[in-house]
């Protein structure tokens, strides 16, 4: 016996076919509109999970890149302070050379001493440099000036400078593992005291003390004592140069991290796009194909649903 095909079957099959083609078309239209191949996890569970991982990695990389920028600004501020301190030391050495000249009279030395006093203030101000509201040479105790000055030159003796910061260095994270140091210990930089015992280590100088001694020698009109500060001033300057090269090393690590992060950003974008973005050309060709398919399905429906024997009976 042949299969009976009542019109209800044709109607049902046609409706199912049309709705299937329309459902596919709706998916393609959503892809075209959002530009995404994955619009919800069920579109591609593994891909959605991967996209989630890539997105969080990209976010981390963006955050690290921000950290690098911020750290770079901080190091630049420290660098400027050290340059200023270096300039102070260079000028102080020139003044010391002048003052060491035996033919100079006491009043000339006194006027040089006044300039040294000004240099002293400049050095203190460089050592108390602030960046983003924090005193950058104060370690982690950066809520207050790194150095405090007791006494003044008018008292006959040079003022004493005390370090109020701590020896901790601040580190920031610029990648998954490494942290980069972004501060220098002010006591070591300006007072040559790395271990915090209050005395400069061998081969290092307390810059404030050197300037104070220079001022004292000039004020006392003591050419020999002035000459004695010359080598100490030179050592102090070298000390600042060394610290600058340390900053340079930190900066180099930052630059390397920054370059790595810039590469990572490009890669993240590429990976995320490859994981979740719709292929525009593919989507457009799908769209055209499915529209054609829909038109064909509708045409077939129109043709199969219309005729019945009634059309042909007289």
């Amino acid at each position: 016996m042949s299969v009976r095909i009542p019109s209800s079957i044709l109607t049902r099959n046609n409706l199912v076919n049309i709705s299937q083609v329309q459902a596919r078309l709706a998916v393609t239209q959503e892809r075209a509109a959002s530009g995404l191949r994955i619009n919800r996890p069920s579109d591609d569970p593994a891909g959605a999970a991967r996209a989630s991982v890539v997105r969080s990695e990209a976010a981390a990389h963006a955050q690290f890149a921000k950290n690098v920028d911020r750290a770079r600004a901080r190091l630049a501020a420290a660098e400027r302070a050290l340059v200023a301190a270096s300039d102070v030391m260079v000028r102080a050495r020139e003044l010391a050379l002048q003052g060491a000249n035996g033919t100079l009279d006491a009043s000339t030395r006194a006027s040089i001493a006044e300039e040294v006093a000004v240099l002293f203030e400049e050095l203190v101000s460089a050592a108390n440099t602030r960046h983003e509201s924090g005193w950058i040479f104060a370690g982690t105790a950066n809520g207050a000036p790194a150095f405090s000055v007791a006494g003044s030159f008018s008292g006959g003796a040079p003022p004493t400078v005390t370090y109020d910061g701590d020896a901790s260095e601040i580190e920031v994270s610029v990648g998954e593992r490494p942290t980069v140091t972004v501060t220098l210990d002010g006591r070591r930089v300006f007072q040559g005291d790395a271990d915090g015992d209050g005395v400069p280590e061998a081969g290092r100088e307390d810059l404030f003390a050197v300037l104070g001694d220079l001022w004292q020698a000039l004020t006392n009109d003591d050419a020999d004592a002035v000459r004695a500060t010359l080598s100490r001033l030179e050592r102090g300057q070298r000390q600042l140069e060394m610290e600058r090269s340390r900053l340079g090393a930190f900066g180099a690590r930052l630059e390397a991290a920054g370059a790595r992060l810039a590469d990572a950003k490009v890669e993240d974008v590429r990976l995320l796009s490859a994981t979740q973005d719709a292929d525009t050309v593919q989507v457009l060709s799908d769209l055209v194909n499915q529209e054609t398919a829909l038109r064909a399905t509708l045409e077939v429906a129109a043709r199969t649903l219309r005729p019945s024997l009634l059309d042909f009976l007289g």
Binding site: R4, I5, P6, S7, S8, I9, R12, N13, V16, S34, I38, N39, R40, P41, S42, D43, D44, P45, A46, A48, A49, R50, A51, S52, V53, R55, S56, A59, A60, Q63, F64, K66, N67, R70, A71, E132, S133, G134, W135, A138, G139, T140, A141, N142, G143, A144, D166, S168, I170, E171, V172, S173, E176, T179, V182, Q276, S308, L309, L310, L313
Partner: protein
């Protein structure tokens, strides 16, 4: 030998039978669009012959009855598949809403909020300005956003769960009404069938049985008198003869999520039997799965996720010291994994003051060491807590929090797409069965038209026989004149 009048009677009855055939055709055509209608046809037979000396003489045509063309087995099968399709439909719609909670494709979701908190920790660590007041507030804002997102997700899931419970309760009324109508039809059919098959009533009952099956999975069988017995749950007779029992909802105080959620009870007339676990498919079964499995699992999963976040952040946070010298939790530490999402909140100290955020290991305003440790949590893998784990005893694989999000996204996506595939194939199964039913029982206009042409011809032929008999009788009468 048969007489002329006998022949006339044969022709007359043939006319009547043919007219009845046209009536059946007309009934079929009239019901071409009636849902559940089974085409009918005349059962014809030649009349009992009369024995005579010269052999058996035919007595014309006889209509034995009118039958409907239907396959009861196919209808039962359709009811079963209807029940399955209805359940899958309800589950699929609910799962799509659960999926949206974890959907990060279109807008930032839970993963993005956790990443946002780590970003804020990073900013706090990278700033190392004295006290970092701006960054501290930013950490608190990011944490509050995460708290809100988790609580909103939890509220959304719970509202979906509540909807499922209400839908299940409402469903019971519809089920009881359908059961009553089937019982009523049973009575009508039994009465009518004393005189012959009650084709149209049976069609109506089959439609109701399918409708009932879409609401709740049933098994049904017919009794010799024509009434059907409808069983639900573990073989409890919802309909038997003209009697219908009912399903009722009772508050279930032992329900793990809400003591006001309903259990489904079968009212035997003299007591109640709990059939909640035996409902099977159908919309009712679908809503129960949504309530007790899909949303329940999703809530537990969200709880576990929130617990993981709280436990990890708190562990590192408590090791540090806030600007105010305090040490403690960052998130209010939940007592256990269960219900973490619903009660997710910042610790009271952090809620009260951003200075309680432990950025350092000491109270130095520039100390960022603990903030670094908090930020480093982003990439730290540790065993994750799964639903049902006791505090301090995570049983899951070692993962970072964000990998945990990604794994959950992947799992839910797989679940949804598997269900979608199942739904699609179920739809195809149903379509095939419907087509088989229509192929057997559906009215074909073409067929009916052909039938009509044949009946018309038969009517004309019988009329011609009467015409010729008329002439013969005329001849006989004129002979007598």
């Amino acid at each position: 030998m048969a007489g002329l009048f006998h022949t006339l009677e044969i022709a007359g009855r043939a006319l009547a039978v043919t007219q009845s055939g046209i009536h059946v055709t007309s009934h079929n055509v009239a019901n071409v669009e009636t849902p559940g209608y089974s085409r009918q046809r005349q059962i014809l037979a030649a009349g009992n012959p009369i024995e005579s000396g010269s052999g058996a003489i035919g007595t014309g045509v006889e209509q034995l009855g009118i039958e409907r063309i239907a396959d009861t087995l196919l209808l039962r099968q359709l009811a079963t598949e209807d029940a399955r399709a209805a359940s899958l439909g309800v589950q699929g719609d609910a799962l799509a809403r659960i999926e949206e909670i974890w959907n990060e494709q279109a807008r930032p979701g839970l993963g993005a909020r956790v990443a946002g908190l780590f970003d804020a920790f990073e900013d706090l660590a990278a700033s190392a300005t004295p006290g970092a007041p701006v960054e501290r507030e930013a950490v608190r804002a990011a944490a509050e956003l995460l708290v809100d997102t988790i609580r909103e997700a939890d509220a959304e899931l719970r509202s979906l769960q509540g909807e499922a419970d209400r839908a299940a309760r409402v469903m019971l009324g519809t089920i009881n009404e359908l059961a009553q109508r089937i019982a009523d039809l049973n009575g009508e059919i039994v009465r009518a069938e004393a005189f012959g098959p009650a084709n149209d009533l049976r069609d109506r009952r089959d439609v109701l049985l399918r409708e009932l099956a879409r609401k709740v999975e049933i098994t049904s069988f017919e009794q010799p008198d024509g009434g059907v017995v409808v069983l639900v749950g573990r073989g409890l007779a919802l309909v038997e003869g003209t009697h219908a029992r009912s399903l009722v909802a009772a508050d279930d105080p032992t329900h793990p999520f809400d003591p006001s959620f309903a259990s489904i009870q079968f009212d035997t007339g003299s007591g109640w039997i709990d059939v909640t676990d035996a409902i099977g498919n159908g919309e009712l079964g679908g809503w129960l799965v949504v309530r007790d499995e899909l949303t329940a699992n999703a809530i537990r999963e969200l709880d576990a996720f929130a617990y993981n976040v709280a436990a990890r952040v708190n562990e590192v946070h408590a090791a540090g010291v806030g600007l105010d010298g305090s040490s403690g939790d960052f998130f209010a530490m939940p007592a256990g994994v269960e219900d973490t999402a619903r009660n997710f909140a910042l610790a009271p100290a952090v809620e009260a003051s951003a200075d309680a955020i432990a950025a350092g290991l000491g109270t130095d305003p520039g100390d960022n060491r603990n903030a670094l440790a908090l930020a480093a949590l982003r990439n730290q893998a540790a065993p994750v807590f799964l639903p049902g784990d006791a505090p301090g005893a995570p049983s899951g694989p070692s993962r970072t929090l964000l990998d945990h999000v990604a794994a959950t996204v992947g799992r839910i996506g797989t679940e949804v797409s598997a269900l979608a595939t199942e739904r699609a194939s179920q739809d195809r199964v149903l379509q095939q069965l419907e087509n088989r039913r229509d192929s057997l029982s559906g009215v074909s206009i073409d067929e009916e038209m052909v039938q009509l042409l044949r009946l018309e011809a038969a009517y004309q032929a019988n009329a011609r026989v009467i015409q010729s008999l008329d002439r013969l009788l005329d001849t006989v009468v004129s002979m007598l004149r």
